[in-house]
Each structure stands twice: as C-alpha cells, then as structure tokens.
C-alpha cells in the first residue's frame, strides 16, 4: 500500500479510477453496511442495535410529532444565539486588539489561550451551577467554547490585511470609519465566512453535550430521555439527522458562502 501511495507519477493512473468505479464502490459499500446492519440487528435486542425499520419508524415519529420538532427548534435557537454572541464578542475583541495595540497581549496571550485550553465539559458543569438547568446554561457553554475560534480566526484575517491598500485608503481620506467600511470590512468577509463555517460544526458537537447535562429542552435533552428509556431507535434517529443536517448545511450553505466571499473579496479577487 505504501508503495502505491509513494509511487511517483501515479497521478495519471490515479485519475483512471473513473466516476463509474467510484459510484460502484460507494454503492457496494452502502449496500454492505445496510445488509450488515439488518443482519446484526436480528441477532441482538433492539435496545442495543435497532433494525433499520425501527429507526425509520422512529424517524417518521420524530418529524411528525410537534414536541420533537420543538426540541429541534430549541437546539437550532441555542446554536444560532451562541454563534451570534460569540462571533460578535470575538470580532470586538479581535478589533480591539488590532486597533488598540496596548490591549493585544492581554487578549491574544492571556484570554485567548485560556479560553482555548478550557474544557467544554468544565464550562457545562460550571454553567449548570451558575445558571441552573436552562437555555442560558446551554447558550453560555456553546458561546464560550466558540469564542476562541472566532477570536483566533478573525485575528488571522486582520493580520493579513493588505497594508498598502490601507495606506492608499488613508491617502484618499482620513475618515477612519469610511476606510474601515470600504477596505477592512470587505477584506474580512472571507475570514468571517470561514469562521462561521468552523463555528457551526463545533457548535453542534458542544450543543448536544450542553443540552444533555444542562438543558431542559433540545435534542440533547431528548436523547437523554431516550437513553433512560432504552429507546435506542430515537437516539439513532437524532444522530443520523444531525449528521445529515450538518453535512448538508456545510455543503449547501457554508462552503458556497466561503467560496463566494473569497472569490469576491479575497486576495485572489484583486
């Protein structure tokens, strides 16, 4: 295997794997998983491995029950609010460190590493004591975990600003706000898009844990109830739904957004 990987000039033949071969292998793989799943689920009790049919039934119930959809709505609200809060806070801190350079070490060398090294579970458990079992706990936990991602990424964006362009802007006008709106903000957009994309992926991972231990609603809360009832089919449904939702949102929303902003406002566009 290593031989094939490190064989020089293998490129031309690598591409030789046609789309049809790839599709065939992918289809065989999915079929094999499906068969293995249904055979395995026949041999063990459903609370260990529910059959595909059980999961389909649970999924149908999930999407037609108002209460379940309300949990989904709560999780989306938690994630949306947290992304907004941590993005704004992260942007404010990054801008403060950039424009008021005396605050940079305090922000980048003290606050950012501290937040970056703090464990997500730690925040969850602390928040439960401080705010009780509530949406505030969930939003606080997700926001504080996301904050370093926003801060570090936007800092990167500010530091790669084109200095010559900024100088040219200053030679045209001294109005700082106008320069910021016309030059700095557009150049930051690709970084903002990339930041949002990363934050969305991480937010889901943290949200479920926070809801499970500190929430009174949301998908995390729901799988906790399902876990206590040994309702593994519902757990499977939620997990599969999240995988599909995160994947589709990334592919259909965040990846195009990132591509669009970097094409129009990134370095390559100039």
């Amino acid at each position: 295997m290593t031989g094939a990987v490190f064989r020089a000039g293998a490129t031309s033949r690598d591409i030789g794997a046609t789309t049809r071969a790839k599709a065939l292998v992918a289809f065989a793989f999915v079929a094999a998983i499906g068969i293995a799943w249904s055979v395995a689920s026949d041999r063990v009790p459903p609370y260990i491995l529910p059959s595909p049919r059980d999961v389909a039934r649970a999924a149908a119930a999930f999407f037609t029950t108002g209460r379940q959809l309300a949990h989904l709505g709560s999780t989306l609200a938690h994630i949306g609010a947290s992304i907004a809060i941590s993005f704004v806070l992260g942007a404010l801190l990054a801008l403060a460190a950039h424009y008021a350079s005396w605050s940079a070490p305090a922000i980048h060398r003290r606050l950012s590493p501290f937040l970056n090294a703090f464990s997500g579970i730690g925040w969850t458990l602390l928040a439960v004591i401080w705010f009780g079992v509530s949406s505030a706990t969930v939003v606080f936990t997700i926001s504080v975990v996301l904050l370093p991602f926003a801060l570090i990424n936007l800092r990167e964006g500010l530091e790669t600003q084109d200095r010559e362009l900024a100088e040219m802007g200053r030679s045209f006008g001294r109005d700082g706000w106008r320069n910021f709106a016309a030059i700095v903000a557009p150049a930051l957009l690709p970084f903002a898009a990339a930041t949002l994309r990363i934050m969305f992926g991480v937010a889901w991972k943290v949200a479920l844990t926070a809801e499970l231990f500190g929430g009174s609603r949301g998908l995390g809360y729901m799988i906790n109830i399902a876990r206590q009832d040994y309702d593994t089919a519902t757990i499977f449904t939620v997990i599969l739904f999240i995988i599909v939702a995160v994947y589709l949102a990334d592919r259909l929303l965040f990846a195009p957004l990132e591509r669009h902003t970097s094409r129009h406002f990134g370095r390559a566009a100039r």
């Binding site: 599709a23 065939l24 999915v30 090294a117 703090f118 464990s119 401080w130 799988i223 994947y247 990334d250």
Partner: protein, 251 residues
C-alpha cells in the same frame, strides 16, 4: 513597536490577569462556596489533583487514555487517508462518506452508544475518544498527502526502486508537518471535547471526577479539574509537541 511600549502592554496583560484573580477573590468572599470558591481553595485542590493519590488516580487515568487515544486515532486516521490515496476508487466512500460521517457525528452520541454497547471501562472510553478524534487526523493527513511534493518522489524514484525506502526517507519527512498538525489538533480536542467519554459509564478520570463533584456541589473540585486540564493541555504542547515540531521543522 518599540520595546518600551511592548513591555508596557505586557505589563498590562499581567495586570489584567492579576486583576481577574483579585476580582475572583473578592467575588468568592461574598458568594457561598458551592457557587464560587476562592482562588486559594482551588489552588490547593489543583495541587492535590497532582499529589494526593485519591485524586492522582483520576488525573493519570485521563492522561493515559488521552495519549493512547491520540496515538490510536492518528494511526487509524492515517491508515484511512493512505487507503484512500492508494485506491482512488474508494474516494467517494472515504472522503465523501466515512470522513463527513465521522466529522458530523455528535461526540455525546458516541459516548451514549458506547455506554449501551460496551461494559464500562478503559476500553469503552478509549473507543469514544478515538472515534471523536479520527476525522481530525484523517482530514489533516489526507491534506498532507495531497500537498506532498511529487517532484521529490519522482527524484527519489530515480535513485531507488524500493518503495518502502522512498516512503521512509522521502514520504515520511514530507508528511511529518501534517502528522504533527494532526497530533496537535487531536491532542487539543481530546482534552477539550473528547473528555465527554468519561461522563457516561465511567468510574475514573477527570471528567468523571468533575461530574461527581458537581453532583455533590463541590465547586472547588470542578474548577480545580478545569485548571488541571488546562495545565495538562499546555504541558503536552510545551513538552511533547513543540520539541517534536522543532525537530522536524529543522529538516
């Protein structure tokens, strides 16, 4: 930036840190211990986590499991990336299927499934941590394999036909920065996120200790465990990852 101004800003950073400690100390004096214990009590408990055998068991259990999981995840993730590269027909399955599947899988989902499937113990926790870390390693090593300099490989082929030798002498050094990147990311994620594995069906580890302490309103231990995680995270970066990075960057 002149040195004087720089040191002024650094002083300010230290001042802010000190100020935060003072505010914490003042706030803790007027709040009950189960809401916010003082910095001194937390510092004492933090020391106990590394000295007192009753606590040290948990600290060591988490550390050993994190190290094992990171190495296993790196091995499996690299293997998957190599397989994908060696057999391009598997591209859709691995890069289009397995990788996004693992990457979007909620971490608490693994913890719950492991609690249902396995008897609690080191094995089930390591399973969860490895499952959470694999996509990070796979993405990074896969990216490294794509970026690898083909001309160097071509030149190496003109010197020798032995592919193992090429892989070892040329491929591996070229890949080293990406392997290190994968190690760094997964080490961080292991401490920050994968510790959820210890919250369900575990009887040891810092995650278990924190959950138990929270259940008995022992805030001091919860906060001390958080700081212990920060300390272990930073120690691993400074003592293991940074020296490795320096060694391989020198080539």
């Amino acid at each position: 930036m002149n040195p004087l101004k720089r040191s002024g800003a650094t002083w300010l950073a230290d001042g802010v840190t000190l100020g935060a400690l003072v505010v914490w100390w003042l706030a803790a004096r007027s709040l009950p211990e189960f809401v916010l214990p003082g910095p001194v009590a937390v510092a004492e408990r933090l020391a106990a986590l590394f000295i007192d055998p009753d606590f040290l068991v948990h600290t060591l259990a988490s550390t050993v499991r994190v190290l094992i999981s990171v190495l296993l995840a790196l091995a499996i993730g690299s293997m998957l990336a190599l397989i994908q590269r060696a057999w391009p027909a598997l591209d859709w399955v691995l890069r289009g299927g397995v990788q996004p599947f693992l990457n979007s899988f909620p971490s608490i989902g693994w913890a719950i499934l492991a609690a249902i499937w396995f008897t609690p113990g080191h094995g089930s926790i390591i399973f969860v941590e490895v499952a959470i870390l694999i996509p990070f390693c796979m993405i990074n090593v896969g990216e490294g394999l794509r970026q690898i300099d083909r001309e160097s490989l071509e030149m190496a082929t003109s010197f020798t036909r032995r592919r193992i030798r090429i892989a070892w002498l040329v491929g591996l050094p070229l890949l080293a920065p990406w392997l290190l990147g994968a190690l760094r990311i997964s080490y961080g994620v292991a401490w920050k996120i994968a510790l959820v594995a210890e919250l369900l069906g575990s009887t040891s580890g810092l995650g278990y200790l924190m959950l138990r302490a929270q259940g008995s309103a022992d805030m001091t231990t919860v906060i001390a465990a958080c700081f212990a995680i920060i300390a272990l995270f930073v120690a691993g970066e400074r003592l293991l990852l940074d020296p490795l990075a320096r060694r391989f960057a020198a080539r």
